[in-house]
Assembly symmetry: D3
Homo-oligomer: 69 residues x 6
């Protein structure tokens, strides 16, 4: 599948914290570089996420804010 | 400064493409791992972005969609 | 592919308006029910969008605001 | 009222699932075509949402990601 | 009309800058307190925005990032 | 620090409501003008937010929807 979002990054699931409604998923982009995603618990179950499995992080370019010191 | 957004990633500016209104900034998170941001041209100028300079990518965790094959 | 976003709707591309930077894509969800998407021109080209072709509209549930009269 | 968001779709409330903080609202756009929205529980109460009632789904065009197989 | 978004702020249109595709609208919330919105040019025309007119700024609470020094 | 987001507003924390996962923060922009933010409970703790303290509201201009009566 192809998507219009510019950022479609290959990652490894590093950690999953399951709440009552939402699940916090930590995705490793490269050694020591991680991105955290919050999705609904039902989505996390539907996707069959598990630590060590491969997943993609999909981020719209307009959702990336740039900052400098 | 501290921000509520969970993802505040240290990057290096890899490429800047300036349009008439928006600027597309490619940020390198790790060798070969890049994230693209689209910001207004005036913001890019205000930040003084330049290739090779350090910058941060600020992304809300709820803006990261997870996908699996 | 499976995605964490709750809304993954099957549509038909109804109209494409190409600007200098962005492309406006009108997607038909059902007869007379349309949703408009704005994506970058380069994304539209990469996806090979064309009127009459099938496409999916992917929308996070937190991006849907509800209103009542 | 008029809004700048391009998508302002007439719907019927199909299902409401109330959580401790958030409420998940399923809106029917056309027979068999539904969109899910997650709003705060207090917003759902303020709006007086109920199954069978009419409501609008308000979605910014930049929040609609397009995908193709 | 009632909306699920928590922030629905009464403002006065302070400045309108029209681009080829997008329009930048500066809204005054209180003397000296302004918020900038970028909407499509066609939306700005449809809304009949003009400097000095009253308008509302509609912002989802999850789109407000908090920062401290 | 400088950020690409156009709206970076100085505020005073007016009210904090702590939930099990999320925290609702009411920020006062000017007397009687408030904006509500929902952030994760862990972010609120990391930021050390407290009623009466100064904080910034960071909002992307594309996240501000404009409405008129």
């Amino acid at each position: 599948m192809e998507v219009s979002a510019r950022n479609f990054l290959k990652t490894t699931v590093k950690k999953i914290v399951t709440g009552s409604v939402n699940t916090e998923v930590t995705l490793e982009l490269a050694p020591g570089v991680e991105v955290v995603s919050i999705i609904t618990k039902s989505s996390a179950e539907k996707l069959g996420l598990a630590e060590g499995k491969q997943a993609y992080a999909l981020i719209k370019s307009s959702d990336v804010i740039v900052a400098v010191d």
